[in-house]
């Protein structure tokens, strides 16, 4: 197993390198200029040029690339071109907010999704099933930002139950949770739809499996069959999917962070894209890539346990 993890990590290096290179090129090919963005519209061409020089943007591209890789190898993510604060600080600040959101959404998804999925599977082709499936299909058709706007409209504008803006620091847990609820619900409800559908499909597959039939044939009660055998078997592939959902959540959090004006990796990225803050943007992508590699690795390991057919030498 350890050998397998080591091998996967080594294999990830060329992938990461490819990602870094692509990102390095992409952010620079895009039109726009961070120096103009940083100085504002009043600045003279002279001041802009002076800043470009200081930012190191007048260096040849290959040199900038070598510097970027060198810094990266030393674990230095550089400084923001706009605010000149270390990028690592910015990321360290926003990352917990994004992870908190993804985690809460996943929790909501699992808590609501699994029971719904099991229920619709067990009562297959009943009214419960149809309604459950229709609702979950609507759920996964929802663009996250639109659901966010609806929740804001109903629970923050019409009925002022929750704050709609911003966030509170983690040192004030109660406040922090209060701010978290609407954004987490936005992602969590959509997540619920996916997990419910997945669970239904997995449970159905398992219920039609031979050993469940055998269990039934042995005269075991339906409930016992369901809980002792089917559910347990179903839980594992479902939970292993959480890793994959987590990647998606990190992506969809971009929109939710925009709508709810929450700090987060996604909001930082959109801001950096718009301000042409190359160093911040490429560093965020590096962090995304690392998160994805780690989540994939974990998912992969979990799969190894789930599916006995997958074996690594």
């Amino acid at each position: 197993m350890l050998r397998h993890i080591a091998r996967r990590l080594l294999l990830a290096i060329p992938t990461l390198l490819a990602v870094f290179t692509i990102i390095f090129i992409i952010v620079r090919v895009a039109p726009g200029d961070p120096a103009t963005a940083a100085l504002g519209d009043y600045a003279s061409a002279e001041a802009v040029e002076a800043l470009r020089e200081r930012m190191g943007l007048n260096e040849p591209l290959w040199r900038q690339y070598v510097i970027f890789l060198g810094d990266l190898a030393r674990g230095d993510l550089g400084r923001s071109l706009i605010t000149e604060t270390p990028v690592i600080d910015q990321i360290a600040f926003v990352l917990p907010y994004t992870l908190e959101l993804a985690f809460a959404a996943t929790l909501i998804g699992l808590l609501l999704g699994i029971p719904t999925g099991v229920l619709t599977a067990v009562r297959r082709n009943s009214m419960t099933d149809y309604v459950g499936r229709a609702v979950s299909l609507v759920g996964l058709s929802f663009p996250a930002f639109y659901l966010g706007i609806l929740l804001i409209y109903f629970f923050a504008v019409r009925v002022r139950l929750f704050p709609s803006v911003g966030s509170a620091p983690f040192s004030e847990p109660a406040q922090n949770l209060h701010y978290l609820i609407l954004p987490a619900l936005t992602l969590g409800l959509i997540e619920t739809a996916y997990i419910a559908r997945m669970t239904r499909s997995v449970v159905l597959t398992i219920l039609s499996d031979d050993y469940i039939r055998t269990a039934r044939a042995k005269g075991l009660q339906e409930k016992v069959v369901l809980v002792r055998h089917a559910l347990r078997a179903a839980l594992i592939p479902i939970v292993s999917l959480v890793g994959i959902f987590a990647i998606s959540l990190i992506g969809s959090s971009v929109l939710v962070e925009e709508v709810f004006a929450r700090p987060g990796l996604g909001k930082l990225m959109v801001g950096a894209t718009k301000q042409k803050d190359y160093t911040t943007l490429q560093s965020i992508m590096v962090v995304y890539a690392l998160i994805i590699v780690v989540i994939n690795l974990i998912t992969d390991i979990v799969y190894t346990y789930v599916d006995p057919r997958v074996r690594y030498g």
Binding site: G40, T83, P163, S167, Q275
Partner: protein
Amino acid sequence: MTRRRIVAIVLAMAVFMSGALTGLVGSATAQEGDRPVLRFAVNAADLASLDPHFASGTQDRTVADMVFNGLVRFVPGNSAEIEPDLATEIPTPEEVDGKQVWTFTLREGVMCHPSAETEAYELTAEDVVYSLQKSAVPDRSAYSRDYTGMTVEAVDDYTVAITLDQPLSETLFLPKVANYSGGFIVCSQAVEALGDEAFRTAPAGTGPFMFESYTPQNSVVLTANDDYFRGAPQLGGVEVRYIADPSSRELGLQGGELDLAAGVNEAQWVDRINAEGNIVADVFGVAEAVWVNMNVTQEPLDDPLVREAIALAINREEHAALRGEPVSELIYSVVPAQLMPGGLTMEEAEEAGVLYQQDIERARELLAEAGYPDGFSMDLITSEMTDYAANYEVLQAELAEIGITLNLTVVDHATMHAQIREDVNPIVIYVAFRPNANVYLSQFFHSDAIVVEGEAPITNFSHYSAIDDLIEQARAETDPEAQAELWKQANIQILKDFAAYPLYMQNLVYARVPELDYGHELVSSVALYPQITEMTTLATE
């Protein structure tokens, strides 16, 4: 087997959770005794620079205004007037060896804020010299052009003499040493100890509020400077939050999480907020002018008939309606007459024959006369920001009436600014406030400032060069009235040549809880926000 599976799942979840938990180590917000802390949301996702010599966005000017002072200042809430700030009085210039010299006497006992590297210390002439010299260095200031040709010397600890290569009128000189842009006085010891880079996010000045902390993408916390020379602030501090989404800011105000927030620059928004009654929307100056620049050297706009046709296709009321009165007011020259000397009023424009009201028929004729009976098409980029995008879209519809097709590409704001400076747009709609007519005219209509090709390119998108002499003449004129007259002539010439078409100017809109009292009457502010001073109060229950 089952147990191993569970262990694996738990492991996977634990890794995910530990990430979330690392965030639980944060810093507590400081409580400022029994004085309330003002929670203020600005319209931006983050700061760009708190070094006042780089502060150009509204969100940065806001913080600079609270942290720093100038030698003189625009009266809080009324930027039409200037009064002494760090200086004890406004001097009258003297002639010394054929050069104009302005000598300022400083207040004594003004304390610089402590910084991470320095203790609080008394501000002296040395700091003022350091600061104004810093403003003149291109890579230490975005406003370096405005501070060249200026020699600053410390006569003694409390006296500063500024010698100008070219004499300037009061109208042009005082804003350079006021609490605006390069005129803000920084504390030299703090800048030197921290370095320019760190100073950008940890400023130290002499103002009523001191920088406490900055949280990227989230907020800047300022605390009361109890040693402030005008007295200790009534507020315990100000928490400036960066919230780019207008509806979020509004909801934050209504939900009681904010006390003050940048509003939406629209009359309908103002009316609705004020009708709802629980929060108050204020409309005030200074307004930003909105106008259309046309490149007089590029085909087909190089033909004055085509430019005239475009001018006659435009209905400025339609553009102004995007904001609605009183947020928007019509302007008849790029320099807004309502705000500063040198602009044209409607009567003046009419008298000079440069009012140009919409006349579609005539516009079509002119276009045909110029050899474009079927019109033509043109590619333009616009910023995604409403001010730009909406005006371009209205222009698109107006020009469609006379057969001119505008193909618009929406890009993000920074990209638009970079691109139009590379001369990609033959027509540029611009939204800007500049402190006086000279800056407007020099930056947008002097040949030196022509984008790409000019000697010192800034924002002359029209490639216009017909009023250089008028601008220079006015700049050297020390009599304010004669100066204003020259600026008016320059404005008339711009319109006669159809280098630009003025649309409207838009006032600022901020919303607050009724308990917030700015401590001054709010008419206009060059800091572009309803200034928070030591007098500002927030009533609690």
